[in-house]
């Protein structure tokens, strides 16, 4: 009985280890997926909040970021932004 019990216990331990390994594997895959998608998420936010547009503006004009460069960017974008339809 003891043997059987220890045998079963050993099997259960192996099962637990496997379960832990599997769960660690799943968590690892999820963490990797999150890490992979993080730059895309940040890029999405930067586009929505016009940071990417400002970056492109600086690259186009070969400028450094500064208060005057940002004022120029705002002036250029103001008209286009004002005409942009906002949904209901």
């Amino acid at each position: 009985m003891r043997e059987a019990g220890s045998c079963c216990g050993a099997n259960a331990a192996t099962g637990d280890e496997r379960a832990i390994e599997t769960s660690q594997g799943t968590v690892g895959v999820m963490v990797a997926a999150i890490v992979r998608s993080l730059p895309v998420f940040v890029a999405m936010l930067r586009e929505v909040f016009d940071e990417s547009a400002y970056q492109r503006f600086l690259e186009r004009g070969q400028m450094e970021s500064s208060a005057s460069a940002y004022a120029l960017f705002r002036r250029e974008n103001e008209l286009a932004r004002s005409r942009r339809a906002r949904c209901c």
Binding site: V48, L79, S82
Partner: protein
């Protein structure tokens, strides 16, 4: 994944969706968990996206990965920029998500959760997503042309003119209706009014920080603004508990309306980007954050729906708005299922960012699925409320009475038990003096959201903070739409008036700016004023009017899409746009007929005007009803014209009397790396 496994997976998803839909459709007399709605929606959306949108992509639109998009061909680093599909998705979703999918389902919950939920799910998969997807693709194939330009070139001059008038009408009515929602949410609420008032100095501070201290760091600045707004919510609590300050911020509806009208004019006429742009960023930040938070709250809290699947008001006697399920549930839900306004976004900024044609499916169809999910969450937020509470908050004084006891007695007599004491306790818990007669949908949504959030985080002790967070979110969101919408309307008017007298078309000529701003603000301000003076609460007239306009614009968009499909010799797949088009024609034309000619004064504008005239009411109220009837009739007549013109064009092509040709840009092979396409 092996094919057999995929088949099994999709069968499982379909069965789970069917089970969830059956559960929400067939349960009677017992409450169900809100997750059934979420599961039904998610499974149906997954199946719709995987199979229906891929069928449309392959057979109807024949998406071509080798064809260069305007973002690639016309790349200028400003408007035309090839962009990652996830980034475009986020950009598109942020642009299409407005107050419509939040307010519409809350109002439609007066029929019970079932009709609205089924229409949100089915309408989105078969109508709204299809419209957004096909218009986006057609715009991409026409160098990012707008809906108005496509209507003009593919159908005719009348099409372009109708699209223009519909857009302008929607903007005006939308601004009037949403401003009314803000007024109803903030009236006699010092806490809410203070919080919203504080967003203005916060935005100016953000503007200064953005311009002088950290140029271009919008995300960082928005986060800073968000923290300050949270501080303003706490400050609002102090204001509401300090009698002298509370008196200063306790404003009646007419005062709030005047302040909003003045704000709208100033926002349109003055060069106030220092205020407007940061407010816009702040609003987007709060919007995306709150929607995500609500989704997490629903999944974590898994609330029970207290609203029955169907209420007695399916017969058309509802207190929030009068009218039977068909057509009024479909008009009221509006943007959560199908929105004509989305076709403007799909033919505006988004097509200029698409990197590869096949990505239009993910952005157009998928973006609308996400919007529809927001509508499902709003339906859940309204349906977790006790029905008695829901009707007490949303019913106008003209229907249930001004006194709390009288209102509670009337609502209880409908079979939805509520007491004045219960409402007083709830009002106290959310930091308001009263929650009776807070029409417009926003306060009911805020109470529902506060209930979900406070059960998830912080408990009942912080319910007032969650409520005012929700009110701040909605009001900030709507005020941003008011200032942006007024400016868009002003530009549209200047473009049109420039054809009559050139100087009026000059967007930098100050007299023209003042004149057109005043015209637009007077137009929506009239609707707002009409709403606050209406004894039936205003929403009863304005929201269906807005819904009709919005769905009429969707009719125009689907007309354009159907005509293009016929012209591309794919008429055998016409049903994809023709079925939603026929449905929308049936819904909008029936609703318009009811709103103009129905003999019930709570439904028909003319009957209501007649009733007021008999009672010797203020001539202004009578004029407003007749004006609403005239606007509805003119819009319907114009859309009928475009339908006839489109049908004539299609029949000539199908009969061979006219060559099938469209105005697509010529094919150019893409030079973008193939690996990017995966």
């Amino acid at each position: 994944m092996p094919k057999i496994l995929r088949v099994v997976l999709w069968i499982a998803v379909s069965l789970l969706g069917a089970l969830a839909l059956a559960t929400i459709a067939l349960h009677r007399g017992e409450q169900i968990n809100a997750l059934w709605l979420v599961v039904a929606a998610v499974c149906t959306y997954a199946v719709g996206y995987r199979f229906y949108s891929s069928f449309i992509a392959a057979k109807v639109l024949a998406l071509d990965p080798k064809r260069a998009t305007p973002a690639e061909r016309l790349e200028n680093g400003r408007d035309f920029v090839p962009t990652n599909k996830w980034v475009v998705f986020g950009h598109h979703f942020a642009a299409i998500a407005g107050p419509g999918p939040l307010v519409g389902p809350v109002l439609a919950a007066q029929f019970g959760y079932l009709p609205g939920t089924l229409w949100i799910i089915a309408g989105a998969v078969l109508g709204g997503c299809v419209q957004d997807f096909v218009i986006l693709l057609f715009s991409v194939r026409r160098d990012g042309k707008s809906l108005t330009e496509m209507a003009k070139s593919e159908i005719g001059r009348v099409g372009g003119f109708v699209a223009y008038v519909s857009v302008l009408s929607i903007i005006v009515i939308l601004l009037g209706a949403t401003a009314l929602i803000v007024v109803n949410a903030l009236k006699a609420s010092p806490w809410g009014t203070f919080t919203i008032a504080m967003t203005m100095p916060i935005a100016v501070l953000m503007g200064f920080y953005l311009r002088r201290i950290r140029p271009g760091k919008v995300l960082e600045t928005s986060l800073l603004g968000f923290v300050l707004v949270l501080g303003a919510i706490f400050g609002g609590q102090w204001v509401s508990q300090t009698p002298s300050w509370a008196a200063l911020f306790t404003l009646a509806a007419p005062t709030l309306a005047i302040l909003i009208i003045v704000y709208g004019f100033a926002a349109s006429a003055l060069p106030v980007w220092l205020l407007l742009a940061p407010r816009d960023y702040l609003s987007t930040f709060v919007k995306l954050g709150t929607i995500s938070l609500l989704a997490v709250g629903i999944v974590v809290f898994r609330p029970t729906l207290n609203m029955p699947p169907l209420t007695r008001f399916v017969d058309g006697t509802g207190p929030i708005f009068a009218g039977t399920i068909f057509p009024f549930a479909f008009i009221t839900i509006a943007c959560g299922a199908i929105s004509g306004f989305h076709s403007l976004i799909s033919s505006g900024t988004t097509p200029k960012l698409i990197r590869h044609e096949p990505e239009t499916r993910f952005v157009g169809y998928g973006g609308m699925l996400a919007e529809s999910m927001v509508a499902i969450m709003a339906m859940i937020a309204a349906s977790v409320l006790q029905p008695g509470v829901y009707f007490a908050v949303n019913s106008p004084a003209g229907i249930v009475g001004q006194a709390p006891e009288a209102a509670a007695t009337t609502i209880s007599s409908w079979g939805f038990q509520v007491s004045a004491a219960q409402m007083a306790t709830l009002a106290h818990a959310v930091g308001e003096r009263t929650l009776f007669n807070r029409t417009g949908g926003a306060p009911a949504f805020a109470v529902g959201m506060a209930q979900i959030f406070s059960n998830t985080l912080g408990g009942q002790a912080v319910m007032a903070l969650w409520y005012h967070f929700a009110i701040m979110f909605e009001a900030l969101f709507i005020l941003t739409i008011i200032d942006a919408g007024t400016r868009v309307g002003r530009f549209m008017l200047q473009d049109a008036l420039g054809h009559i007298w050139k100087p009026l078309g000059r967007t930098s000529w100050y007299p023209s700016i003042l004149f057109t701003s005043a015209l637009i603000v007077a137009a929506w301000g009239n609707f707002l004023w009409q709403g606050i003076k209406d004894p039936l609460g205003g929403i009863n007239s304005l929201w269906p009017l807005f819904g009709i306009c919005n769905q009429l614009l969707a009719t125009v968009a689907l007309c354009v899409a159907t005509t293009i499909i016929v012209k591309t010799a794919r008429a055998h797949y016409l049903f994809v746009t023709l079925i939603p088009l026929c449905w929308l024609v049936a819904v909008t034309f029936t609703a318009s007929w009811h709103k103009v000619l129905d003999k019930n004064p709570r439904v028909g504008f003319l009957a209501h005007a007649g009733q007021l005239a008999k009672a010797g009411a203020n001539p202004r109220l009578i004029f407003n009803d007749r004006l609403d009837a005239a606007i509805t009739s003119v819009l319907v007549a114009m859309v009928a014209t475009i339908l006839v013109e489109s049908a004539w064009e299609c029949s000539r092509v199908l009969s061979g009397a006219k060559m099938a040709s469209t105005k697509e840009a010529p094919f150019v092979m893409t030079r973008l790396a193939t690996e990017e396409q995966s």
